[in-house]
């Protein structure tokens, strides 16, 4: 089932000050697949996600050991430029966070930042990204209106479009549907399934049904450890670890 590995963690350790948040995590994330990270709150799944595009760098007192490779390059290597890294590995957050600007400017922000100046090219990128995020039809008549006027689900798809506009390889989704109603959630899940043809998606989710519905691979985290990682169907039907079984059968968490 798994294709080429795009991201590989080898013995990844992370501390927030004295708090040992990731303990020797090793896993290989396959390309053009959806990988779900599940586990109870505080288990380290979000922390792991944020090490992939180095958003954890912003937390004071964070310390990281071990290896994290992206296409064979060390993400925490000395030559890495985080702006390049984050362009390659995009992110959608838990709470939709469109900028307080027009819809157009939201999408164009990334390309502009990375040096696209031509209006025609930007128009093109905006339309393509909005189409890819399945929101073009809803917003095409009001591209110059504020993005804050959209509904929660629309805002989240706009954020996905904004992330796609810089042409990433990998899309990280940090519980991106947890604040949405079921219909909006369904739309975003559908979207994720479409996107995996061209992107690698890594999603943190609280919702096990969601992991079953959309992901190819699932990683179960507990107390900073990666307990089990494998094919989603297999993991949910025949968990190898007792703790995984307890979690997916709802005995804790």
């Amino acid at each position: 089932m798994s294709g080429n590995t795009i991201i590989e963690a080898k013995g990844l350790e992370l501390w927030y000050g004295d708090n040992h948040a990731l303990k020797g995590v090793s896993l290989e994330i396959p390309e053009n697949r959806i990988t779900a990270l599940i586990g109870p709150s505080g288990c380290g799944k979000s922390t792991f996600l944020k090490t992939l595009n180095r958003m954890n760098d912003l937390v004071p007192g964070v310390r990281i050991e071990g290896q994290l490779l992206y296409n064979g390059e060390d993400i925490y290597g000395p030559d890495v430029d985080v702006t390049r890294l984050r362009k390659q590995i995009g992110m959608v957050f838990q709470k939709a966070n469109p900028f307080p600007m027009s819809i157009y400017d939201n999408i164009a922000y990334g390309p502009r930042t990375h040096g696209v100046r031509s209006r025609a090219k930007l128009d093109d990128i905006v339309e393509r990204s909005l189409r890819d995020a399945a929101i073009w039809d809803e917003v095409k008549d009001r591209l110059n209106k504020s993005a804050l006027g959209l509904s929660g689900g629309q805002q989240q798809r706009l954020c996905i479009a904004r992330a796609l506009a810089v042409e990433p390889d990998v899309l990280l989704m940090d519980e991106s549907t947890s604040a949405l109603d079921p219909i909006s959630t369904g739309k975003i899940e559908e979207l994720a399934l479409e996107l995996k043809n061209r992107y690698t998606v890594v999603m943190v989710t609280h919702n096990m049904q969601q992991a079953v519905r959309v992901s190819d691979m699932t990683a179960f985290f507990l107390l900073g450890e990666l307990v089990e990682f494998g094919d989603t169907e297999r993991l949910f039907s025949h968990p190898r670890d007792k703790r995984t079984e307890d979690y997916i059968t709802g005995r804790f968490g």
Partner: protein
């Protein structure tokens, strides 16, 4: 689609980054340098002329003495006189706004008024002070007319800080008192006011800061006299001075030295005194404010 993650910023983005960072540090350095220069220069020019005699005597042409005692006392008098009025008025308004106000229009009117007053330049208070207090009320140029004009100017400061501290008094305190069957005024007096003292104090300190720094209002309403009518060592004398004495406070004295007499040594000496007071007030306000924040 696959791109390297080690390529680094484009020259254009790198230039932007460096330029902006340089500008930020330059702005910070400029402002700090400005303050260091300002303070250093004032101290350098003012301290040599500053002496005990300068601070504690009244100027006399005959004895060839220069002194700013009257200006210091005038400043103190004006501060006390202004506080006497703004303290009850400011605290009272704040209590009305936070504890009683039920009529939205009245609240809106009061809030509009305080905003308007706090945005009004002092020269306007000077003009109105001259017409209303000096002339219409017949107070003439006197410290009390100056104090009244300053009441208009500083009232919003006291109202606002008091209001903020009243808002921080927890509901449970109020309930506790009301549940014991006390009336509203009793509750305010025994529970609300005592626990918002630091806010009121902060407001007064800030008001004192504005009074000490104010010059335009006082120049026209309190006058520019460099002498004191009577030295006040009793309460009666204090009041007589307030009404009879037309006197310059420190800022007005500074203006007088600099602009009318071109006596810059004395002007800088007064500036040193003003700086020390401003510094003290900043410290005091910060201290009181920190206590307020702790709650």
């Amino acid at each position: 689609m696959k791109g390297s993650i080690t390529k680094g910023l484009s020259p254009r983005r790198r230039a932007y980054d460096i330029t902006m960072r340089t500008l930020l540090y330059a702005a910070a350095a400029l402002i700090c340098a400005l303050l260091v220069f300002l303070i250093g220069y004032i101290l350098y020019r003012g301290i040599p002329h500053l002496s005990w005699q300068f601070l504690t005597s009244e100027e006399s042409v005959i004895k060839d003495i220069e002194g700013i005692l009257p200006a210091i006392l005038n400043t103190v008098y004006v501060i006390i006189a202004t506080l006497i009025f703004i303290l009850p008025l400011g605290v009272g308004s704040a209590i009305y706004l936070t504890e009683y106000a039920s009529n939205k229009r009245v609240v809106a009117a009061i809030e509009f008024a305080t905003e308007t007053l706090s945005g009004m330049p002092s020269i306007i208070f000077a003009l109105v002070g001259v017409i209303v207090f000096c002339e219409f009320c017949g107070l003439g140029q006197s410290l009390i007319a100056g104090a009244f004009s300053l009441v208009m100017m500083t009232l919003p400061t006291v109202i606002r800080t008091t209001q903020e501290s009243l808002k921080t008094v927890p509901l449970s305190y109020r309930e506790g008192s009301l549940a014991l069957g006390s009336g509203k005024w009793h509750m305010i007096r025994t529970v609300v006011l005592p626990s918002s003292v630091d806010g009121i104090v902060t407001g007064c300190i800030l008001a004192v800061g504005r009074i000490v720094g104010e010059s335009a209002v006082l120049m026209f309403t309190a006058g520019m006299g460099m002498r004191l009518a009577k030295y006040g060592d009793s309460v009666g004398e204090f009041f007589r001075n307030l009404f009879d004495s037309s006197g310059a406070t420190l800022t007005v004295a500074l203006y007088h030295y600099a602009k009318e007499r071109a006596d810059f040594d004395s002007a800088f000496a007064v500036a040193v005194v003003l700086l020390v007071i401003a510094f003290g007030i900043n410290l005091a306000a910060k201290f009181a404010g920190r206590k307020l924040k702790k709650r």
